[in-house]
């Protein structure tokens, strides 16, 4: 990539990060809550983007992993355990369950795989709702404490917001690293042509399971932050609707693009608040927007801009000299 583009990217990144850090000073607690919710949701969307966007495995179960993480955090922290224990329990169990959920993906693909994961999401929801002895059923779990950070209680919305933002930053860095490592390349190969990848020594079975497990693990981490954010959880937010919403976020933002989930979560979480005036018609506008977007650009908003940028660069660049060989009809 060119130097000017890198400079522009770095500058834009710095402005956005500075904006996110400064934001709570201009916002009421509710505004900070929404922004925190965005950060927490983005973590789950980043996870799904790994599974779906990079490795090409459809999952309608991401919401269930957020739920598992949230219940793990609620159960542990209300019993006096630190949130760190919840990270461990939720991360490890979601990773493990995600790995197991990956097995059907070795046999079925695309919409069939969507159905298998949908079944899991439904099952998880039923467990949250019906297993009262552990989840509290429809009454849910309340009085979830805010976490302590080295003895400092993150009680105020602003403190907890920064905590979640830091989590998002760490997750983003880890995801960035992963995508740029040989694993990321193997994920893309798995998405684009699993048969060819297999013939080049890529253990597609292991990478498929890993893509599910990592995505699910991040879903769990998102849940671990969600529970102390809202401080009261019941099964409702973890229904299939959340999985569908997360899927929509990844696709609207730009599936397979690093910044896709950030943008997608922004549209799904922040836009409804900004469009308060049109509250009654919000879903109508959103639905219309999504339909138009997917017709114009199936690769989401980032895909749309990337194509425009590439076209602009091509127009600006001098024409490439013709190759020695001529084009051939296949």
């Amino acid at each position: 990539m060119s130097r000017s583009r890198l400079l522009f990217g770095t500058l834009a990144g710095l402005i956005i990060v500075a904006g996110l850090i400064a934001a709570p000073f201009g916002l009421k607690p509710y505004g900070i809550y929404i922004l925190t919710l965005w950060a927490v949701t983005t973590i789950a969307a980043i996870g799904l983007n790994l599974t779906l966007g990079y490795a090409g495995q459809v999952s309608l179960a991401q919401g269930a992993f957020v739920g598992i993480g949230a219940y793990a955090a609620a159960l542990l922290t209300t019993k006096g355990w630190p949130l760190g224990a919840a990270y461990l329990v939720a991360g490890v169990s979601c990773f493990g369950i995600g790995w197991l959920l990956g097995y059907p993906a070795l046999r079925v693909q695309h919409h069939y795989l969507a159905f298998v994961t949908l079944a899991f999401a439904t099952l998880a929801y039923l467990v949250f709702r019906n297993e009262e002895w552990i989840t509290g059923g429809i009454y849910g779990l309340s009085n979830i404490p805010r976490p302590n950070l080295f003895g400092y209680l993150l009680r105020t919305p602003r403190d907890f917001y920064y905590f979640c933002l830091a989590n998002l930053a760490l997750v983003s860095l880890a995801a960035w690293w992963l995508i740029r490592s040989p694993w990321g390349r193997a994920f893309v190969a798995l998405r684009e042509n699993p048969v060819r990848a297999l013939s080049l020594g890529v253990d597609t079975r292991r990478y498929t399971l890993m893509a599910f497990a990592l995505g699910a693990g991040l879903g769990g981490i998102s849940g671990v932050l969600y529970a102390p954010l809202v401080q009261y959880i019941d099964p409702t937010p973890f229904s299939l609707l959340l999985s569908l919403n997360l899927l929509l976020m990844v696709i609207v933002g730009g599936s397979g693009y690093f910044f896709g989930p950030f943008l997608g979560a922004m549209i799904a979480v922040l836009l409804p608040e900004w469009l308060q005036a049109a509250s009654k018609y919000y879903l109508f506008y959103y639905a219309a927007f999504v339909m138009v977007l997917l017709i114009v650009s199936p690769s989401g908003i980032i895909g749309f801009f990337e194509r425009r940028l590439a076209a602009a660069r091509k127009a600006a660049a001098p024409p490439v000299p013709p190759m020695a060989e001529a084009k051939v009809a296949p």
Partner: protein
Amino acid sequence: MTTVLEVRDLSKHFGGIHAVNSVSFDVNEGEILGIIGPNGSGKSTLFNCILGQLHPSSGEVRLDGRAVTGMRPCDLNRLGVSRTFQLLQVFPELTVRENLILAAQEHRGSMVSRLFGARDAGLSGDADRMIEFFRLAHVADEKAGALSYGQQKLLDAAMAFMAGPRLVLLDEPAGGVNLTMLANLRDRLEAINREEGATFVVIEHNMEFVMALCSRIVVLAEGRIIAEGNPADVRRDPKVMEAYLGH
């Protein structure tokens, strides 16, 4: 002469159809073996059975005397057996360089080292050499999907050689390639065979290409081997004429 690959009584049935019917042949170290036959004679199915993409109904495949029948393609590939497909198979969203790195990255290190180690898995040098060798330098950082058909075909072949395989199975390498590119491709394949001592098995419809490239030819018809020998003999064999021209 050492035998690299032994195929013994390999069969593959799809329901009542015998796509490959008790096929046996050897591939010797350093040779270029051609497999020809009319459409539907079982050539690609034979490749898929040898390479673990399909499970053979019966028979055995041995690599250096070791049974590898039904082994997963990724494991077989790491033992030094590589292939190309009949239809072009590159990763369009990866650049030429990344396609090449991918083609060898699973051959060294562990899953852990591939996650935490170098982004190029230490393969940039090899990739550059391969890019140079296949004359793709001017498109090295383009996405593979943006290349012309002929260039993609070269990349496809380059990927098969990236990990330094001992045995390469090429399924119609000349298909849809124009004459200039075809000469280029043949020249590159011969150079690799000569310089690296890699062994090839080539399925091909382009008779001129296969006769010029291969030292020995196996002819398949209706799933069986009907002739075997050097190009000149095979060309004159009446059974081969019949198979191609019909009964």
